[in-house]
Amino acid sequence: MKTKKILTLACALALLIPGMILGEPNVSNDNLVLLPVPKDPTISFRIWFKVGSQNDPKGKEGLAELVASMLTEAATTKNSYEQILEKLYPLAAGYSNTMQAEMTVISGRTHKDNLREYYPLLIDAILAPAFKQEDLDRLKSQAMNYLENTLRYSSDEELGKAVLYNDVFAGTPYGHITTGTIEAVKSITLDDVKEFYKKHYTRDNLVIGLGGGYEPALVEQLKLDLNKLPGGMVAEVPRPQPKPAGGFHVTIVEKDAPATAFSMGYPMNILRGTKDWYALAVANSWLGEHRNSSSHLYQVIREERGLNYGDYSYIEHYPGGGQRQLPPQNVGRRVQLFEIWIRPVPNETRHFSLRAALREYKMLVENGMTQGDFDLTRNFLKKYVLNYAQTTMERLGYALDDTYYGIKGSHLEMFREMMDKLTVKEVNEAIKRHWQYGSMNIAVITKDAESFRKALVEDALSPMTYATPKSDHVMKEDMEIVKFPVKVKPENIRIISVTDLLVK
């Protein structure tokens, strides 16, 4: 391990937040991130391997996720999976993986009392997977069920996000969701799993994250144990270079849907840690703060018009958005996704709703934020980010992400600082530099796809009527929305049946 260097996360946050008790400053170098919290009766582990779905071999999309699951949800050479569950059970502890395009993190947490029993199970999961056929069969069956049934049928908004993601990054190493495709998963063998593990789970390809009330000896033990992994550098996957959509490119998924779900977006190169990212974070929060009524899109589409349950936007990929209130950790990536998420709207308002969303976005891109909106939003974010990392496990996740993004200090600390430093002018300049209107992928889950295709090609008016009276302001704005131009070239519209999705 290299020389340790003091990270300022803990002490700086403690200064910012009165009464915050964080214990000793954490220490980090390239492959060790420590977050000691002596008063915490638990210990949190995050062992990060620099591997993800971008490393999936062609035709084996979904392999990286299956391998991660074969470590955390399957047997080791010491214990069957059944025995592992039995041993973990009385400890109320466990371990799992979060796995995205570039990062796979095996994380777990135990009470200090149980460390002696817990630790060997966790370390065996990483060092000594048994790779049994029956475990692979079970995990493949789960993945197949997710792709064939759950994702296609049980939540149209999750499906919309998956379609958008695959479209935006098509043809790049990011070009598939982590679970992969049906045919690829079907083809994965035990040999594929073993080879992938051997190649990517090496001692040279990992970062140890440890937090909570641990003793220093545990750090040494972890280093010692993880050094038992074979050496080997993993060749860097070329940076994905998704092609700009060039105009609106629409995928309409034909399905007997009770309502229409939209996800739209484009790849974005700006990453956290840079000033412009924080500027865009302000603009994005105003436009569409996740699951928050302060979102402007939410105000326009849900609050004033009652068309759906919520409308949000993102400047970082945000998996699992339907199930979480605050951002996930360890989704680090070199190319980001700008995304607008319109929750299902009545089918008869689909064209109008799409226009309403795009119109608001276009106005922001062209006109920027007002001073008043800027002031409100930065004040909001300055405090709101305090909610992002409340537990040791979450803070450790952020600390790993700081290492991923090469952030000296802490992203969350910088986030708060930037809210004081940025000006509305800088935010509006950043919008001009990094956001654009007009080149975008749009994923639509709906029924009667053909009629929607026709409406988009013709840029037909989308008259709007409401069952209940609306304010003059809304009625007046609607006159603009119904004719707001969103013209799509016929060759840029693809209609696909839901049964043909995610096949290969």
């Binding site: 009385p90 997710y146 009524s293 909610n387």
Partner: protein
């Protein structure tokens, strides 16, 4: 792939595991009741300058006794964000935004809960805003009608899930007269008609949003005395006036009920075996024994799960759900089965397991492991203010306080192998049973 267990299930389980989690609450708490009946539970704890503030209304879809009003408690939760004359919706929104609070609300059968997590320095602001809206809520009819559209949108986004369909059908099947017969989101026809219920909404507010029916739970970086002073300042003017709904008691079930349900999308078949249980009573040892039995018989470490999920690989998952309810709830066992022809086999395995629990005492080691697990679940689970308030909300709604937690842990400690056998014999009988098999389109 672990995260993919449907959310509806995890929601149902969460209290089960929390309640079973230990025997001593690790924080000192203070309970005060204002003269108007408003109860305040304050839990100071170390936290990085954060406070979590819950307003628990002891009303949920259980209280929707009038025909045509299903889903109203949930709809009303939406209306609570529409502001007052002093702080109209947009003004309120901008204040909440300016303090960077993370907040939301949810409704279930026995509870409507509103929460904010925020920096300790903003506590007074939050107490003022919350005190104001619970007393002086004000909205115009147009706004009311528009919000009904958002609720319909919520229904539409949910209904594509087979679990939403199952939930609706199981309630309808298992209950005859009790309001647990309908879901919290309500029937689609009632949701469609919501825009016409403006006058009814005022009566709903006036009957249920009263201090005797609300409990505040405040945890985190707080000073009890100061907090109580602020609560008194902003809530003391709230007038009593709670009118308890006349919820019809469910008559005893006579005989098993079964139903086949078809789901328009594709899904693997899902089996649900439900048993009518008991209104929650923390001092009832038989009830505590049933909760332990649920884990032992159908939980992650149960023999049946190991058999069906790991060894035979006939199911995608097997999970028990034993939500605690104010009135007679349903104990349910869910399983997603890989092949439709295996559904009868899985169902019979569930029955066989129950019969075994009736006749053979549970292994002492397994019972001890479960008790140890509960202790550590408890110790590890309550580490942030929002987790503390979030965990307590349901027990507060169901029982009116937090004392039931200690009572329940005492009951858990006392549970013997014989109690578990008795619980199996008492509740897991065909007369109390409802069974649904949901199948997807081919």
């Amino acid at each position: 792939m672990r995260q993919r267990i449907p959310i509806i299930l995890t929601l149902l389980f969460c209290w089960g595991s929390l309640v079973m989690a230990g025997s001593i609450f690790p924080y000192t708490y203070t309970i005060e009741t204002l003269p108007n009946g408003l109860k305040v539970i304050m839990i100071p704890m170390e936290s990085p300058g954060l406070v979590s503030y819950y307003s628990v209304v002891r009303t949920g879809s259980r209280d929707e006794v009038e025909p045509g009003k299903t889903g109203f408690a949930h709809f009303f939760e939406h209306m609570m964000f529409r502001g007052t004359k002093k702080y109209p919706g947009p003004v309120r929104d901008s204040i909440v935004t300016s303090i960077g609070a993370s907040g939301n609300a949810y409704t279930s059968d026995d509870i409507t809960a509103y929460y904010y997590n925020f920096a300790a320095e903003d506590l007074e602001r939050v107490i003022e805003l919350e005190g104001d809206r619970f007393q002086n809520l004000h909205y115009e009819e147009g706004v009311f009608q528009t919000e009904a559209g958002a609720v319909y949108g919520e229904y539409r986004k949910n209904i594509t899930s087979p679990f939403a369909v199952l939930n609706e059908k199981m309630k309808e099947l298992a209950y005859d007269v009790h309001t647990y017969k309908h879901t919290t989101i309500g029937f689609e026809a009632d949701i469609k008609a919501m825009p016409q219920q403006f006058e009814y909404s005022k009566s709903f507010f006036s009957r249920f949003y009263r201090p005797e029916n609300v409990v505040l739970v405040i945890a985190g970086d707080i000073d009890v005395k100061k907090t109580l002073g602020m609560v008194k300042r902003f809530y003391s003017g709230w007038q009593k006036g709670y009118v308890a709904p006349k919820v019809a008691p469910e008559p005893p079930q006579k005989g098993e009920r079964t139903l086949d349900v078809s789901y328009p999308g594709r899904t693997l078949p899902i089996l649900v075996v439900a048993y009518k249980w008991e209104a929650f009573d923390a001092k009832n040892r038989l009830l505590a024994a049933t909760m332990l039995l649920g884990e032992l018989a159908f939980g992650e470490n149960s023999d049946l799960n190991k058999k069906l999920f790991l060894k035979e690989q006939k199911v995608q998952f097997l999970s028990p759900s034993f939500p605690t309810n104010r009135d007679q709830g349903l104990f349910q066992i869910y399983s997603m089965v890989k092949k439709v022809e295996d559904v009868p086999y899985v169902r019979d395995e569930v029955y066989r397991t129950i019969e075994a629990f009736k006749t053979k005492p549970v292994d002492a080691q397994k019972l001890n492991d479960l008790k140890r697990r509960n202790k550590y679940n408890f110790l590890m689970g309550l580490d942030t203010p929002s987790r503390v308030t979030g965990s307590l909300a349901r027990v507060v709604a169901v029982t009116g306080g937090v004392e039931a937690i200690d009572d329940l842990y005492t009951s858990f400690d006392a549970v013997t192998a014989q109690d578990i056998q008795n619980a199996a014999q008492q509740y897991f009988v065909p007369e109390r049973r409802s069974v649904i098999v949901l199948k997807g389109a081919q």
